[in-house]
């Protein structure tokens, strides 16, 4: 492969301490190239979500090193990590986690306003574009709590994309969606990786979803069984 590496981990090991010290991730060494659409699959409890949270920089309690876009993020302090997440990582959860007191548009705008790279007006325009991509621009001014589940998830994905992050991570992003909405989301993810060169890493139980992605990483007992190369 000649594509540059977006994310690289070296010998990631993580333990759970409750009730007893137990390794959940063992010596995970992996790399994801720029523009790649990777699915991580495995049985419940194999550590795939834990891995994703470590890769997302939110979980700092691990051994080994993690490099994102050529920057070693291991050992950075929480505020520096927050900045990196804000600018380079978009996160989509199984549940939408929109802020119910704000309109959909505002929900999408908030990470953009936090970044402070664009003016308020520009952020607003960009948020509209993202909502349009997902076909929910007509819901923009409604309160987030007033939308249907599928619409909320699409707004949540739009929020993840507002700062044009290099890497988009999804923790079962389609777990709560019906097959129609799953299809929409998948197509959009594929479009993001193929047309915009954004890197996608998703954890999923959905075999169909995984099969259609570029590469499947299979995990079992905290180790990578198959890199899918």
């Amino acid at each position: 492969m000649t594509k540059p590496i977006a994310l690289q981990s070296e010998k990631l090991t993580k333990y759970f301490y409750d009730p007893v010290k137990m390794p959940v991730l063992r010596d995970i060494t992996m790399e994801v190239h720029k523009g790649e659409f990777v699915s991580i699959v495995g049985k419940s409890g194999c550590g795939k979500s834990t891995l994703l949270y470590v890769l997302s920089t939110m979980d700092r309690d691990y051994e080994g090193t993690l490099t994102i876009n050529g920057t070693k993020v291991t050992g950075l302090d929480v505020n520096e990590l927050a900045k990196i997440r804000n600018s380079s990582i978009g996160f989509v959860f199984q549940f939408h986690y929109l802020l119910p007191d704000f309109s959909c548009l505002k929900n999408v705008m908030i990470p953009g306003l936090r970044l402070g790279k664009y003016s308020y007006k520009e952020v607003e325009d960009r948020a509209y574009q993202k909502l349009k991509m997902f076909g929910v621009e007509d819901q923009a001014l409604k309160m987030a709590s007033k939308l249907s589940g599928g619409q909320q998830q699409r707004v949540a994905i739009a929020r993840a994309l507002i700062n044009d992050p290099a890497i988009i991570m999804g923790d079962e992003p389609t777990g709560n969606l019906d097959s129609k909405n799953t299809g929409i989301v998948f197509d959009l993810f594929q479009q993001l990786s193929r047309e915009f060169g954004q890197t996608l890493i998703t954890v999923t139980h959905d075999e169909d979803f995984a099969r259609r992605s570029d590469r499947i990483i299979e995990m079992a007992d905290g180790e990578i069984k198959d890199h899918g190369h």
Binding site: S49, Y53, S56, M58, D59, V78, N79, A82, K83, I84, R85, N86, S87, F91, F93, Y97, L99, P100, D101, F102, K106, I110, P111, L113, R114, L115, G116, Y120, R159, A160
Partner: protein, 413 residues
């Protein structure tokens, strides 16, 4: 709508829970309005009593104090306490008059801090009308100067105090004396100081708030007083000094004591109980206000804590999407500050109106007509400052807690 994103979120949270915001702000509002109201009442009362105490006490009073004969005259040369020249010292009756009083007055006037100096002759007298006799104190003064220093005019019930200068044997008597001896303006009164009784004419009746004063005190012209006690024109028992700033009185009194060699008593010494009362009131007031602000602070603390508990997932999301701990603190601290500001502004208005309303309550005791309330702007500034400090302190701990939220634990559940 071009707010900083932290402020934007803070506002939205406040707006979406109006009831709680209002309740929290109401707590601050009550605290601040009470602060202002009670401070105004206290300052008004203190000012009133202070002013009142100056209505019969000069800032400094210089008089001749009987001294016990000095038994240790030789100590200074022998450098020990070995030799006593008197073994059984006694008080010696001296003339109560000051030596060279007008010379003293002249030199006191030279001090730029001095606002007024006036001589006085005081004497214990017997008032007689018909067969009734009363003990009392008579003071001989220059009534115009006395009025400048002590506002005699404000205390007059009947008659004109200036008649003291016009009527040769005029006298101003306290209301108590007038009532007991059944005297009116124009009546005669016999005043006995020393051996010779003298008939004076009542030209005015005054009432202070102190019954003791009203029952005993009378004013006459200083030359009449000198006459009554049988002394010459240079006989002066007291020199009363007022300063531009009465807070300097204790220091200035010590200076005057050194300069004149007589006892100089400042108003603080003369009114120890007044000072004590001021201090006690300040303690009572500050504890009440402290409790009110504490309660308001707990209200804010509680409400923010509940908000954080309810919004813990949202906080986790904010952190996941790149809000730093500092940004989260800013969001929640700003909520506290806005609550504080809203409460403070309404509290100021309420406090002012409360003060205004209470200042119209009629009391009618002595020369006190209405409740003494002061409208002193630093109280309003202090009120706002204390209100903001309380809310920030109350908001900081929940905000700090919110900033510590770990997105992984919350989102993964």
């Amino acid at each position: 709508m071009k707010l900083n994103v932290n402020s934007d979120i803070a506002f939205t949270y406040l707006w979406s829970r109006k009831k709680q915001t209002i309740i929290a702000a109401a707590g601050v509002m009550f605290g601040i309005s009470m602060y202002i109201f009670m401070q105004s009442l206290m300052k008004g009362t203190n000012d009133y009593f202070e002013k009142n105490s100056f209505s019969n006490t000069a800032h400094i009073r210089i008089y001749n104090e009987n001294k016990v004969a000095d038994t240790h005259l030789l100590d200074s040369s022998f450098k020990d306490k070995s030799t006593k020249i008197l073994v059984n010292p006694k008080q010696v009756q001296q003339s109560l008059g000051l030596t060279n009083p007008f010379g003293l007055i002249h030199s006191i006037w030279k001090d730029p801090q001095v606002a007024a100096v006036t001589p006085q002759v005081s004497a214990t007298v017997l008032y007689t009308s018909g067969s009734v006799r009363l003990n009392g104190n008579m003071v001989g003064v220059n009534i115009v100067e006395e009025d400048k220093m002590f506002d005699v005019k404000g205390n007059m019930v009947k008659g004109d105090f200036r008649d003291l200068n016009r009527v040769n044997n005029g006298i101003l008597i306290g209301k108590g004396i007038a009532d007991k001896l059944s005297l009116h303006v124009g009546d005669n009164i016999t005043v006995t100081a020393g051996a010779t009784p003298r008939i004076m004419r009542v030209v005015g009746i005054f009432a202070t708030t102190v019954v003791q004063v009203d029952n005993t005190k009378s004013y006459v012209n200083i030359s009449q007083a000198q006459n009554l006690v049988g002394k010459d024109r240079s006989y002066v028992t007291d020199i009363k000094v007022n300063l531009h700033d009465y807070n300097n009185a204790p220091v200035k009194a010590r200076e005057l004591e050194k300069m004149t060699g007589y006892k100089a008593e400042d108003w603080v010494q003369a009114n120890e109980q007044l000072k004590a009362a001021f201090k006690i009131r300040a303690v009572i007031l500050n504890s009440v206000i402290g409790v009110i602000l504490l309660v308001a602070g707990f209200g804010i603390y509680n409400i923010l804590n509940m908000t954080i508990y309810e919004k813990i997932k949202e906080i986790a999301i904010l952190k996941a999407t790149g809000f730093s701990g500092g940004a989260v603190i800013s969001i929640f601290l700003q909520q506290a500050i806005y609550i504080g500001l809203i409460g403070a502004v309404i509290g100021l208005i309420l406090g002012f109106n409360l003060t205004l309303a209470v200042s119209k309550i009629y009391i009618g005791a002595g020369n006190l007509k209405y409740l003494p309330m002061s409208f002193y702007w630093p109280h309003y500034v202090q009120g706002v400052v204390f209100g903001i400090i309380t809310t920030v302190a109350a908001g900081y701990f929940p905000a700090k807690k919110a900033s510590k939220v770990d997105p992984v634990t919350i989102i993964r559940g």
